[in-house]
Symmetry: C2
Subunit: 271 residues, 2 copies
């Protein structure tokens, strides 16, 4: 069975989409056709949305799921007239929150992902620049400004994890890839030794590592299972020997890797 | 008045946090102390959370907001006994969804941000690598694989926007910074002309550009208001002349820039 699910917002649509994906992920057996419709902030746009919803009803022969985070009552009511199962997030939760907090909400469109506190936003963008500047061990002299330094062999998931931590949480994450030369040392490189308390190890199943590397450099020694197995074994031994905290990234998404490291290393998620 | 708000999950906490930030952003006057508690997946951890909630009640002298996306009933009920205003996302929405869809939900922990479809996940990570490989015009020969190419002067917001599109939506976004030499051409560089349909312009207020550049290279000609004004005027004229779509990033967050471009350029948000 196939169902269309609309995630509709007068802002970026990120909240509607995140919550919608979360709820629908609890229904494994059903195939959803997910459609995010952001910036629906006029009745004219709402009218176009209504036509799209009607077309989905026609095509699926079943009413769609409609999850919205629209603040404006008029626009929301217009869309609520469509034939769909409405999950109306703000209508459901804002009233009880108003009562609890003893104040009226602003009913201001697009607040969630707008820049609210400039210094926090600037910190996030700075952190993205920091992650790029300190990617792949290019510059180690900025490590004293890092909140965390991810270490691991090439292609174990360091770069996307650093970028996610920076973009979402304003965390300054550097990363250092262990080269064959580093691995032959059987101890921490000097540039890392000085920042031992910030180090966090990433490891990965050698088969998966070989598959990932194979896509980058097909049929190379770098991508061979022998080489990957050797590197992973060596670095895992080093992590144990140096008592570094470490995470196996094999089955984890970048969101899971990042939030687990943040949680374990007791870093602060900045809004 | 200050209120503590807990965002609690047995997974990454991203959904709880996103929804919580969204709801609370509608209450401007109140200062919230937001605490995200991810991976609360045992009764033991729930007990520690309960202690933390009790401490907040004591400190604030008012009960906190507790927004949770905990799937496990036992853990959720344990936390629901605390003195707080519970916003129970799954309990509120899963039952009606079950009824609508005619099936039971899985009640599986941590589904939202887990890797669900490997090919989609791999595409996201590939897109992150693509964004990094094609950052700052370093390699233009991969532009035929790009979904979009952001163009603009240095520090107008291209790199974070590309990374956000890649990480969140698996979109292959390259970026090309216009140098002074490019700007003196008064036409598109040849490497861009061939991919005209993929180009999207970014512009920014010269004062803000000067402030951003000043943090990178203080007191340089590069950061001077004269230079920034000249560059912005020249590139805006070029965007008009070449009829390129364009967005002014001055007041927008990276989420807003990315989702607006995706929407305008009719790119597909991949889950």
């Amino acid at each position: 069975m196939k169902r269309t699910a609309f995630f509709i917002s007068d802002g970026t649509g990120i909240t509607a989409e995140t919550l919608g994906n979360s709820l629908l992920s609890q229904f494994d057996g059903i195939q959803f056709n997910k459609v995010t419709l952001p910036y629906i902030d006029t009745l004219e746009k709402a009218h176009a949305v209504a036509l799209q919803i009607n077309a989905a009803v026609e095509a699926d022969q079943v009413r769609p799921i409609i999850l919205d985070t629209i603040v404006n009552d008029e626009i929301r009511n217009y869309i609520a007239q469509c034939n769909g199962m409405m999950i109306d997030v703000f209508a459901t939760f804002l009233k009880p929150l108003e009562k609890e907090l003893g104040v009226h909400s602003n009913y201001t469109v697009g607040k969630t992902h707008a820049i609210q506190q400039m210094h926090l936003y600037k910190n996030r963008i700075e952190s993205v620049n920091f992650a790029i500047d300190n990617d792949d061990g290019a510059r180690t002299q900025q490590y004293d400004r890092a909140d965390i330094i991810l270490v691991g062999v090439s292609r174990s998931g360091k770069t996307p994890s650093c970028l996610y931590m920076a973009l979402q949480y304003g965390i300054r994450a550097a990363n250092y890839p262990f080269t064959e030369e580093d691995l032959s040392l059987k101890s921490l490189p000097a540039c890392l030794e000085a920042h031992r308390s910030k180090l966090y190890g990433l490891t990965i199943d050698p088969f998966q590592l070989a598959a990932i590397r194979h896509e980058r450099r097909p049929n190379s020694r770098y991508a061979s299972l022998d080489q990957c197995t050797l590197e992973v074994r060596t670095i895992e031994r080093l992590f144990r020997q140096e008592r570094l905290p470490c995470i196996n990234t094999t089955t984890f998404s970048v969101e899971e890797i990042a939030t687990r490291i943040i949680s374990e290393a007791k870093l602060v998620r900045q809004p």
